[in-house]
């Protein structure tokens, strides 16, 4: 199973979003797209060409965009807001909290350029706290797909979900390896490989890195239960508990701060149900900096070597 996972091509996840929203435009007349001066970066150009009347340019004014989106839902529209992850979350947290989450509005907050792999623009734009902020909001679903194909499928799927969603994806070209015709199930973990020695749970770009790490571990005779946790909230607790029930230890891997993200979401489940050794691969309570995506992932330890080391450490603690 693990050996069957192969790279189909390399594509950016934001382009998966662009294809997904274009398809939604054709199938769901209530879908409208908003942006705050980043239509090109979010790959909305084809949508805009085909559906100019369902595209709303908001200018560089993200707070207003979130409020406008909340208003559009009153009347049955399904607004997809688009900007960088930083400006989708920390920039507009109170607007998202009051006008969207607390008000229970059917807004899809679509966030590109998340994490370190935004690259050269540096720490001002590399939000590493967004998963934490968004998963704290009651009623907010948090979706972090792993590649182009899954981002496209997730974009289409969240239109069917009634309620606010945070959809997080990224900038760089990245290994695309999940099935092009997949059906995305919100809240249902994707088991990529079954194993018995250690569980690795990853999300976003780190899923591919976890796949590479699992292959290295397999060569060492270590069998990995590998989970792509593309939905951080609602979290598939059953999948986590089933896996650690077999393996007795876990590694989480994410392009996010060590505080508040996927790792903490998993730790919450473990501490209440089955506290097993748990190691984090994440950004260790620091800001990022300028650099290429790969340089940054190396420097901040979000690489396959670190996932392998974390797995061995977790196993040793059993």
């Amino acid at each position: 199973m693990l050996q069957d996972i192969q790279i189909l091509n390399e594509k950016d996840t934001r382009s998966g979003f662009g294809e997904g929203i274009l398809e939604l435009g054709r199938t769901n007349p209530n879908v409208v797209a908003l942006t705050a001066d980043l239509a090109g970066s979010l790959k909305l150009n084809d949508f805009i060409k085909e559906f100019p009347d369902r595209f709303i340019q908001c200018g560089i004014a993200e707070a207003n965009m979130i409020g406008v989106a909340a208003g559009l839902t009153i009347g049955g529209k399904i607004p997809f807001t688009t900007t960088f992850a930083n400006f989708s979350t920390s920039r507009v947290y109170d607007q998202v909290r009051q006008s969207v989450a607390y008000s229970g509005k059917n807004v899809k907050i679509c966030a590109s350029h998340a994490g370190l792999t935004l690259g050269e623009d540096g720490a001002t734009h590399q939000v590493l706290e967004d998963i934490g902020m968004m998963r704290m909001l009651p009623g907010m679903a948090v979706v972090v797909p792993c590649d182009f194909n899954q981002t496209k499928a997730a974009t289409i799927a969240i239109a069917e979900h009634q309620g606010p969603v945070y959809l997080r994806f990224g900038r760089p070209k990245w290994p695309n390896f999940t099935a092009p015709d997949q059906k995305f199930e919100l809240g249902k973990a994707q088991v990529l490989a079954e194993g018995s020695d250690v569980t690795i749970i990853a999300c976003g770009h780190l899923v591919w890195i976890a796949v590479e790490a699992a292959k290295i571990l397999a060569e060492k005779g270590i069998s990995v239960d590998l989970i792509n946790m593309h939905t951080i909230k609602p979290l598939d607790e059953a999948a986590i508990l089933k896996s650690v029930g077999k393996t007795g230890c876990v590694v989480t891997a994410e392009e996010h701060q060590v505080n508040g993200g996927l790792g903490d979401a998993v730790a919450n489940v473990l501490s209440r149900n089955n506290p097993v050794p748990h190691e984090y691969v994440a950004v260790m309570d620091t800001f990022g900096e300028s650099g290429t995506p790969n340089q940054l992932l190396e420097k901040y330890g979000l690489n396959k070597e670190n996932v392998v080391a974390a797995a061995e450490k977790a196993m040793a603690r059993k």
Partner: protein, 280 residues
């Protein structure tokens, strides 16, 4: 509805407001009393709306309260126009009540379409709802209410720019110009300069209502505002009101922004506000 009837309703709404905030010794009577004519005029004369309440409000005029702390006047007007039983006004700010301190949708109170309280967000929401009406081919209107002090929040100016740029001409935003905010007179705390000039510079039609506590003047102004809609520009009403209007010792001061009358003060207030429709 004739003016006398509307004024009778307004008198009862004011009585509801002071009684509601007295019960729990909390809430915001000043701005509520100042905006009573506007709210009564909207809900009992100007808007086409259905108290059976459907969130989407298709085919109806919609209202959004941005300065959510004046929830007492909003709740009273909703109850008195049939959205929920008037007896429920007695639960304002209680535990397990649908009448939260600031308006919310979370408890499914009929008539409320968005949470407000954290200031400066309602203009964006109203503009979005107005755009949804255009996308749906719905020719009804969207009305909103904002405090003058609230305009210090920057998000308003993003929304004001947005509404003009997108020609949201089915939106009438009223600004409650009472010149007061928590820390004192608005022009002392943070002077807004000419609100009229600012809105006009952003491309809005601005109408001045010097007598925001005169029922006939308010109705005439809302009718005039409607006539200005559909001209590719959003419409703003600068509605000059007296904070605390109707209760002499509360009038014209920021002191009654967020405090409730004691028993003696309530008795004095009730002497000035006739029970026209029956207390809840």
């Amino acid at each position: 509805m004739d003016i006398q009837k509307l004024e009778d309703i307004a008198c009862q709404v004011r009585r509801d407001i002071v009684r509601m905030v007295h019960t729990n010794q909390s809430g915001h009577p000043g701005g509520s009393l100042g905006c009573t004519e506007y709210m009564v005029a909207l809900y009992f004369h100007v808007m086409k709306h259905d108290p059976k309440f459907n969130m989407d409000g298709k085919g109806e005029d919609l209202f959004f309260l941005s300065n959510g702390h004046i929830s007492p006047v909003f709740y009273s007007v909703l109850a008195r126009s049939g959205y929920f039983p008037v007896s429920e006004l007695g639960t304002f700010r209680n535990i397990n009540s649908r009448l939260q301190g600031h308006p919310a949708t979370h408890e499914h109170l009929p008539g409320v379409r968005i949470a407000s309280g954290s200031l400066g967000q309602g203009m964006s929401v109203a503009a979005g709802a107005a755009l949804a009406k255009k996308l749906n081919g719905d020719d009804r209107m969207v009305y909103s209410l904002h405090g003058d002090g609230e305009l210090q929040e920057g998000q308003n100016w993003e929304a004001i720019m947005f509404a003009a740029h997108h020609k949201v001409d089915n939106l009438v935003a009223a600004i409650d110009v009472n010149g007061q905010q928590i820390d004192g007179p608005t022009n002392v705390v943070m002077n807004l300069g000419s609100i009229k000039a600012k809105f006009e510079a952003f491309g809005w039609i601005v109408l001045e209502l010097p007598e925001g506590n005169d029922m006939k003047a308010v109705i005439d102004m809302l009718e005039l505002a409607k006539q200005h809609c559909g001209k590719a520009k959003p419409v703003c009403i600068l509605m000059h009101t007296v904070m605390g209007k109707g209760v002499d010792f509360m009038e014209g001061t920021h002191e009654w922004h967020g405090i409730a009358p004691n028993d003696k003060q309530l008795a004095l207030a009730k002497e000035q506000l006739k029970e026209t429709l029956g207390d809840y």
